[in-house]
Amino acid sequence: MSDQLIKPDLNFVKDVIASGGESLKKCFQCATCSVVCNLSPDDKPFPRKEMIYAQWGLKDKLFSNPDIWLCHQCSDCTAYCPRGAKPGEVLNAVRKLSIQNYSVPRFLGKAVGSPSYLVLLFAIPVVVFLVLLASLGHLSISDIPRAANGSISYAKFLPSLYIDSVFMPIAIFAVVVFALGISRYWKDLTSGAGMEPKGGLLNTIIATIGTILSHKQFKKCEVTKDRQISHLLVFYSFIGLAITTAWAVAYLYGPAIMKLLGMKPFSWLLGESPYPLTDPLKWLANISALALIVGITLVVSNRLKNKEKAGKGSYFDWLFISVVYLVALSGILAEVFRLADIAILAYPVYFIHLVVVFFLFIYAPFSKMAHMVYRATAMVFAKSTGREI
C-alpha cells in the first residue's frame, strides 16, 4: 500500500498543548505562516505542515524532519496567523518535546520541562556544594581562609580540585548524553528523509558553522529582528567565557604539567586564581560577562516588547533565560563583592554562581540549552540533503 497507516497519538497532542502550544488546534491550514516565513524553503515549507502534524499527534513525522530546527522562532508566523494559532509557539513546544525525546535518561527531560520539579533540580547542586563546603568546614564565613594578602579568594573558599571533581564529570555526562542524542537523532532524520545525506559532510559542517557564526538566519526575521543583536551577544559571550574557562584551566594546571614534563613553566601561567584585572584573561572574562548581561537583558526586554505579536514564551524558555541571567549576574557580582571585600555577600553569591553553573551544565542536554546541539545537527543534515538554508 502506497499510503501510510496513520495513528494519531492523542497524548502527544496534549503534551504539545501543555508545553506552550495550546493554540495549535486553531490552525485551519491557510498557509499564511509558511508564506510569511523568510527562513522556510519553498519546497514543503514550514510551519504549516508541522501544525497539522502536531494537531494529528504525528510525533514521528515531526521529530524526523529537520524543519522544526531550521525554524529560528522569528515569530513572524505567529504575528501574521489570522487565527491566533501561534505556529512559532507550537514549534517551540515541539522542539522541547524533541529534546526530551532524544536526550536520555528521559525522566530528566521530563523533570526539566515541568515546574513542579524545579526545586528538586536546584536542590541537587545546593546539597552537593553544601556537603563539599561542610567537609572543608567552610560553612561559616569566619572559617574561610583568605589569600596570602588577606583578600577574598574563591580558590581558598572551595579549592579547584573540588570544583573540577564536580564539574568535569557533569561536563562529561553532558557530552555523552549529547553524543547519544545526536546519533539517535541523526538516525531518525535519515529514515525520515528516506535518503542518506550526500557526501562531503565535513564541508557541510564547516558551512553550517559559518552560518551560525554569522547569525545569517537571524537577519531574515522581521518582527523579532532585534534578536539578532541580543542572541549574537549571548552567543559570543558564551564562547568568550568558554575560552576563558579553558584559559583558566591552562593557567591552573599549566605549571604543574610543564613541571611534570620537565620544563620550566611559562611565567604567564599564573597558577591559581584570583588573577589581576590587567591580565588579558580577565579582560576577556569581564568583557564576555558584560556582553552576556547586556545580551540576556536585551533578550528579556525584546520578549516583553514583542509579546503581543510573538507570544509570551513557555516555562521552558524562561527557565533557561533565568538560569543564564543568574549565571551572568552572580558571576559579575561575585567578582565585584570580592574586589570590594564584602565577604558577607561575596561567598554566598559565589555559592549561588556555582549552583547555577552546575544547573546549566548538567541539565544542558535536557533544557533549552540543548538547542545549540540539536539545531546545529538539523542544519547540517538539512544542508547535506540539499534542503536549502
Binding site: 500500500m1 502506497s2 499510503d3 501510510q4 497507516l5 496513520i6 495513528k7 494519531p8 492523542l10 497532542v13 496534549k14 498543548i17 488546534k25 486553531k26 485551519f28 491550514q29 514543503k44 505542515k49 497539522i52 502534524y53 494537531q55 494529528w56 499527534g57 504525528l58
Partner: protein, 734 residues
C-alpha cells in the same frame, strides 16, 4: 361606461426642454383625444390635483400620463379609475436621446400616438371575486416546518388544517438526541425544541390536526380549494384558501455509494443511524456492541457528486460536528476523524466549528475518500488522498459514519413529461414527478412542476418561495436543504405568503408577481379550435380542460402573464386592458417614414420584468441609444403573438427585436417558461418571412437582464446595423 380620454403631458425632468410640446399636443388632438393638457410637474400634489379636477369636472375617466416611466410614481398616480396609461417620455426618450432633435421628436410623437391607440382599445377591468372564498390555510406535513407554518398562520388569525402522514407529529426532529447550539457562546449542545412546538400546536384551537392522514385530492383553485383527506380508511373534506407544502425529506440511500461500503461492512453507518445510537444512550459498534473508541466521519458522502446527489445538504457538517461532540463527551480518550471536502457551518455555527476544532481529540483534514475496506476484526480502514497532510493516508477506526444527504419527497417518483415531449427536447414546458403529496385537480398534473434535483420549481433568483402553482407555497427542506433555524424562518415566510394569497384573491387581485392586477383572461369560446396550446403552455397550469378539450380557465390560479394570449393561434384570449387587438393596433399605426428619408423603424417588444427595466436603467444612467426603435412593453415576452410580426412587417417596419428574460436551466424569466416559449414561436416565423420574401434575420430575440443595461445601446445599434444590411422593408408605403 363611455370612455373619455384625457392626455396630460408633463414638462418637468427636461421633457419640456428637449421636446416641442406644442407639437405633441397637436398630435394628441389629431388623434381625437377630447382633453389634452400640459403641466409643469404632474407628480407633485398640485399636478395630481390638476388631473383629479378634470376627472371630476370634465368627466375624464381614462387618463394618459405622458411623463416618466410606469415603473415609478405609480403610487402617486393612484387615480379613481383603473384606466391609467403611462407614456414614457422621460427614461426612454429625453434621457436617452439628444434634445431638440428631429428623430427624438418623432419618437415622442409616436409614443403619444401609441398611448392613445392603446387606451382606445382598453376596457376598464373589473375584479373577479370568487363566491364563498375560504380563508383557511392547509398545511401538508407536520415536521418542524409544517408545525411552524401552522402555528404562525393560526397566530395571525387564520384557521389551519394540518395533515401529517405519520402517527406522531414532529418529523425528523423527534429523532435527534440534541440540537446544535443556537445561543452564545455556541459551544453547548441544546435540548431539542420540537416537543414544545408540538404541544403548542396541539393546544391551539385554530389548528385542526389530521395524523396518519394523506391528501387524496385537492380540487379548485386559490381561495376555493376543496380538499379531501383520507385517514383510517375514511375520508374527510374541507375547504381552504391557500396551501403550505412542507412535506420534508428522506435520507439518501447510502447503499448506492458503492466505494463507501455501506451495507457491505457492518461498522459503516449513516449519520441518521448515528443519531439513533446517541438517543439510545451509547455509541457502540453494530458488529459487536462494543463502545467505539475511534470514529471516522466522512462528509459529503454521496453528495456534491454528479454520480449521486449533485448538491450539498446544508446541515451535515454541523450535524457531524455535533455527533463528534457526543463521542468526545462519552469518552475523552476517543479519537474522532473528520474527512471533508469543505466544512460548511454557516452563520453562528462557525463558532461551534471553532470550538470543536479546539478539541485535541478531533482530527480534521480535507481529502477525498478513495475507499473503505475492513480488517479481520471488522474495523473499517478508510483510505484518503489529497489530504492536508500532503500525502495519501489511511486510518484504522472502530466505526465509520457517512454524512449522507437529504432527498425531498417531491423527488420520489417517475418523471412525467407532457404528451409529445421527449427528454432532451429543446423546450420542455414542465416536468411532473409522480408522487402522492398534493394530488391537485390540474390538467397538467397533480403535483408541482419540478426543475432541478426533484425539488419544486421556483424562480430561484427572483422568487424562491413561489412554486409554479399560485396558492401553493413550499417550505422547509422540501424546498431546499436547510437546518432547523432556517426551516422555521422559511415556514413563517410561507405562512405569510399563503395569507397574502388569500387576502389578495379575496379582493379579486393577482397574487404575484403582478400584485394587485384586477384584470383576468376572457376566452371567446365560439372560435376555439381545441388545439390545447393554452392549456399546455400556461406556465402555472391555470387552465383545465373538459372532456372535449375545451379550456376551462381559473382566474384565481392565473398570474395574468398573458402567455396564453400569445399562444392562441386563433387569438381568442384577451384581457380587458391587454389584447392582441390592442397591441396590434399600436403596431400598425406607428409612423413609418418613406424609404427615401432613410429613417428605418424597428419595434422592440420588451417584457416588463427585465427588458423594459433595463431600458429604463439605461435612461437613468443617461446612456444614449438609437432613436429609430419603438419600444412596445409586454407583460411577458411569452405573450408575444406572431400576428404582430405580420402586422408590423406589412406596414413597413424594418425589423422586430424581442427582448425577454434569460431562459434555460438557470432561467430568470419571471413567468418561468414565457421567454423560452417566445423563442420557440419565433422559430416558426421564419417560414412566414420566407414566404413574404423577407429575410428571417429581420425578427430576432435577445435575452436581457436588468443588470445588462450597459449593453442596451450596443444591442440596439447592432440590430439596426443588421437591418441596414438587409435594406429597407420593401412593404414601406403600401
Amino acid at each position: 361606461m363611455e370612455k373619455k380620454i384625457g392626455v396630460y403631458i408633463c414638462t418637468d425632468c427636461e421633457i419640456g426642454k428637449a421636446l416641442d410640446i406644442d407639437s405633441l399636443v397637436k398630435v394628441a388632438t389629431k388623434m381625437k383625444a377630447p382633453v389634452v393638457k400640459t403641466h409643469p410637474s404632474l407628480c407633485l400634489k398640485e399636478g395630481v390635483e390638476f388631473i383629479k379636477k378634470d376627472m371630476a369636472a370634465e368627466g375624464v375617466n381614462a387618463v394618459i400620463i405622458a411623463a416618466c416611466s410606469p415603473r415609478v410614481n405609480y403610487d402617486i398616480f393612484n387615480l379613481d379609475t383603473p384606466l391609467v396609461e403611462r407614456v414614457n417620455l422621460r427614461e426612454q426618450v429625453v434621457w436617452t436621446h439628444p434634445p431638440n432633435d428631429e428623430d427624438t421628436q418623432m419618437m415622442a410623437e409616436d409614443y403619444v400616438r401609441m398611448g392613445i391607440l392603446k387606451m382606445q382599445r382598453m376596457e376598464a377591468p373589473e375584479p373577479y371575486k370568487v363566491e364563498d372564498l375560504s380563508r383557511n390555510v392547509l398545511v401538508i406535513g407536520g415536521g418542524i416546518a409544517g408545525l411552524t407554518a401552522a402555528n404562525e398562520a393560526a397566530k395571525a388569525g387564520y384557521d389551519v388544517f394540518l395533515v401529517e402522514k405519520n402517527e406522531a407529529l414532529g418529523g425528523w426532529m423527534t429523532k435527534i438526541y440534541k440540537q446544535a447550539p443556537t445561543k452564545p457562546p455556541y459551544e453547548d449542545l441544546e435540548e431539542p425544541e420540537i416537543n414544545d412546538l408540538i404541544k403548542e400546536v396541539q393546544q391551539n384551537p385554530k389548528i385542526k390536526i389530521f395524523t396518519s392522514a394523506l391528501v387524496e385530492k385537492i380540487d379548485g383553485a386559490p381561495g376555493i380549494y376543496d380538499v379531501t383527506v383520507k385517514r383510517n380508511g375514511g375520508v374527510e373534506t374541507f375547504r381552504a384558501g391557500a396551501i403550505v407544502e412542507a412535506a420534508g425529506t428522506v435520507p439518501y440511500d447510502a447503499a448506492k455509494i458503492a466505494h463507501l461500503g455501506f451495507g457491505k461492512y457492518s461498522n459503516v453507518i449513516t449519520n441518521y443511524m448515528m443519531e439513533e445510537l446517541a438517543t439510545k444512550g451509547a455509541i457502540v459498534r453494530p458488529s459487536d456492541g462494543k463502545p467505539a473508541k475511534s470514529i471516522a466521519f466522512i462528509q459529503c458522502a454521496g453528495q456534491r457528486d454528479e454520480k449521486y446527489l449533485p448538491y450539498c445538504s446544508a446541515t451535515c457538517c454541523t450535524e457531524s460536528l455535533k455527533q463528534a461532540k457526543y463521542v468526545r463527551n462519552q469518552d475523552p480518550e476517543a479519537k474522532v476523524f473528520i474527512f471533508y471536502k469543505d466544512i460548511r457551518t454557516p452563520g453562528h455555527y462557525e463558532y461551534f466549528y471553532k470550538s470543536m476544532q479546539n478539541d485535541p481529540g478531533i482530527f480534521m483534514t480535507k481529502g477525498e475518500v478513495k475507499g473503505i475496506t475492513e480488517d479481520e476484526n471488522k474495523n473499517p480502514i478508510v483510505e484518503v488522498e489529497n489530504t492536508l497532510l500532503g500525502e495519501k493516508i489511511s486510518v484504522n477506526v472502530d466505526l465509520v459514519v457517512l454524512a449522507t444527504g437529504m432527498v425531498p419527497v417531491t423527488a420520489l417518483g417517475d418523471e412525467i413529461l407532457p404528451p409529445g415531449v421527449n427528454p432532451g427536447d429543446e423546450f420542455i414546458p414542465y416536468v411532473m414527478i409522480e408522487t402522492d403529496i398534493l394530488n391537485l385537480g390540474y390538467r397538467q398534473g397533480g403535483e408541482l412542476p419540478s426543475l432541478a434535483h426533484g425539488y419544486p420549481d421556483s424562480n430561484f433568483i427572483c422568487f424562491p418561495y413561489e412554486t409554479r402553482r399560485t396558492g401553493v407555497y413550499s417550505a422547509g427542506t422540501v424546498r431546499a436543504p436547510m437546518d432547523i433555524t432556517f426551516s422555521k424562518e422559511d415556514a413563517t415566510g410561507a405562512a405569510l405568503k399563503a395569507i397574502q394569497c388569500i387576502e389578495l384573491t379575496s379582493r379579486g387581485e393577482a397574487v404575484h408577481p403582478r400584485v394587485g392586477d384586477i384584470s383576468y383572461a376572457d376566452f371567446f369560446m365560439q372560435k376555439c379550435t381545441q388545439c390545447k396550446r393554452c392549456t399546455e403552455e400556461c406556465p402555472f397550469g391555470a387552465i383545465n380542460e373538459d372532456e372535449k378539450a375545451n379550456p376551462l380557465y381559473s382566474p384565481t390560479r392565473c398570474r395574468r402573464c398573458a402567455v396564453c394570449v400569445g399562444a392562441c393561434p386563433e387569438r381568442i384570449i384577451s384581457f380587458k386592458n391587454y389584447s392582441v387587438d390592442m397591441i396590434g393596433n399600436m403596431v400598425k399605426n406607428i409612423e413609418v417614414p418613406e424609404e427615401e428619408e432613410e429613417k428605418p423603424r424597428a419595434i422592440v417588444f420588451a417584457c416588463e420584468n427585465d427588458a423594459y427595466p433595463a431600458l429604463d436603467m439605461a435612461g437613468i444612467n443617461r446612456l444614449q441609444f438609437n432613436a429609430f426603435v419603438r419600444v412596445v412593453p409586454l407583460r411577458c415576452i411569452g405573450s408575444m403573438n406572431l400576428v404582430w410580426v405580420a402586422d408590423a412587417l406589412s406596414k413597413g417596419i424594418d425589423g422586430i427585436l424581442l427582448m425577454g428574460c434569460q431562459y434555460g436551466e438557470d432561467y430568470q424569466c419571471h413567468m418561468a417558461t414565457g421567454s423560452h416559449l417566445a423563442k420557440i414561436r419565433l422559430s416558426k416565423v421564419a417560414e412566414t418571412l420566407d414566404r413574404l420574401k423577407l429575410e428571417s434575420g429581420r425578427v430576432q430575440m435577445t435575452q436581457v437582464s436588468i443588470a445588462d443595461y450597459q449593453k442596451i445601446p450596443q444591442i440596439l445599434n447592432e440590430f439596426l446595423e443588421k437591418l441596414k444590411e438587409f435594406g429597407p422593408n420593401p412593404y414601406k408605403g403600401f
